[in-house]
Amino acid sequence: MNSKLTSLSDAIHQYVHDGDLVYASGFTHLIPFAAGHEIIRQGLRDLVLARATPDLLYDQMVAAGCARKVIFSYMGNPGVGSLRRIREALEAGELEWEEYSHFSMISRLQAGASGLPFMPMKQTGATDLESQNPNFRRVADPYTGEEVVVVPPLIPDVAIVHVQRADVNGNAQVWGILGEQRLAAFAARKVILTVEEIVDEAVIRSDPNRTLIPGLVVDAVCHVPYCAHPSYTQGYHDRDNDFYLAWDEISKTEESVQAYLEEWVYGLPDRAAYWEKLGPEVHKRLQAGQRLSEPVNYGDY
């Protein structure tokens, strides 16, 4: 099979276009910051940015002027406070939004990933969000007649998914918090995989149960170590909680955000330069340590 290996910059250039619906996946874990930064550098505009938790990544992309709209289910800086740039843009009426609960957001991806016209959910008694977002509908369960809530599929133009390891065809193995990684990849029309480690196909075949995303849905494979910082990659580096706290300060003014983007995004060519700029003290602070799993025997048949 042909290798799908390409640079992140080429992959973004080829697969992300102005106006696209982009799903950069990862629930707290594996958030592909390097890809978002590359999108900012390439000056993409009018994107619809979907994520359950927009996180600092979409706060930065909104501040950089990439987005027309956000789709989300929890617009906060987890454990810290709000996402100030997105929040201010929403309060000022400068950014469109579409809102869900986590479950309804993920259910939309599940429908998209499964090729279904909608997903049913038990209703929650809370009707205010339902009445504000016409994508929520109620239908009668054809078996009992009870009302269920349904949501339509979410089909991103492009999903960006960071994983621990993959082969050059994009067979990808993930461990730690799985979030919506797999659903985003199956739901999207195009998939850019960013990978901590490119491994031989034999490594993937040694542990097939760990392969959550098969190469057949992947369009580009980009080798981007430390792609997720300040988010994290389980077993590779820790979450930079200090930065999540620091962002609360940085994001207080438009000026300090632009200064940040200048220094850490526009001013750097790629993720390797970003990681080097973080410096040895940060590298040391974010070391993951080691806790290996017990091997399993697949049998020799």
Partner: protein, 254 residues
């Protein structure tokens, strides 16, 4: 013994932690609930099964997770599943005993607003939104809410129902058919409120030194005092030590 000093947040965390029972399966929320659950697991509820909406089951974090998606939740947990699985197989199916919730506004009937102050389309203050709380409040067997006792946080009616308590009271919640029992207690820095038979939150316990008038003044509806309103036990030295030294040494939450 000299009286221990503690702040209002520590008081809330300790009293919230005490509501958890050993062997409870608890869906843990971000922030103060996270602290309360981790405190309970280190004290009286060592068999507490902590489920995080990120899809971690049976977490035993070695440090206080700042976010609810921290890597320390995964290492040493009993299972990790996708978010779709955690919301369906665990929560929707009915395998969660306790939901721990917070919110910007809690009303007289325990309904929660975590979405917006003012008009939804033209928000005065835009809050983070539901996250997992819409479904947790509906489907967990019982829910606990933790929030400081301030009048603006306890309006008679919330601006937006992100997740439900007892709706407008009476059997309104029951009539929706949601499986969970709704809020069982609201823990504040002044005391504990619990729903009466009509679903209205009334004051059932006060922290040491607090008066009913204080609680009433800081509540946005005519607060009722429960017959036999109790006084809570003050935090113990051990609870405070765990909170300050083990769980939140940087004092992010307390």
């Amino acid at each position: 013994m000299a009286e221990l000093e503690y702040n209002p947040k520590e008081l809330m965390v300790v009293n919230a932690a005490r509501l958890l029972r050993d062997y409870d399966v608890v869906f843990v929320g971000v922030g103060i609930p996270n602290l309360a659950c981790n405190l309970a697991r280190r004290t009286h509820a060592q068999n507490l099964q902590m489920i995080y909406e990120a899809g971690v089951i049976g977490a035993q974090p070695s440090r206080l997770p700042l976010s609810i998606g921290d890597p320390s939740l995964v290492t040493g947990s009993t299972s990790v599943c996708s978010m779709y699985d955690v919301f369906t197989l665990y929560l929707q199916r009915g395998n969660v005993d306790v939901g721990f919730l917070g919110g910007a506004q809690i009303d007289q009937f325990g309904n929660i607003n975590a979405t917006v102050i003012g008009d939804y389309q033209n928000p005065k203050v835009r809050l983070p939104g539901s996250g997992g709380s819409m479904e947790i409040a509906a489907w967990a067997n019982r829910c606990y809410i933790i929030t400081p006792h301030q009048k603006r946080r306890f309006p008679a009616r919330v601006d937006f129902q992100t997740s439900i308590g007892f709706l407008e009271g009476g059997d309104a919640r029951k009539r929706t058919g949601v499986r969970g029992g709704g809020p069982e207690a609201v823990v504040t820095n002044l005391g504990v409120m619990r729903p009466d038979e009509n679903g209205e939150l009334i004051l059932t316990a006060m922290h040491p030194g607090v008066t009913f008038e204080q609680a009433a003044e800081n509540t946005g509806w005519p607060l009722k005092l429960a017959a036999g309103c109790a006084i809570t036990e003050p935090p113990t030295a051990e609870e405070l030590r765990i909170l300050r030294e083990d769980l939140d040494p940087q004092r992010i939450y307390i």
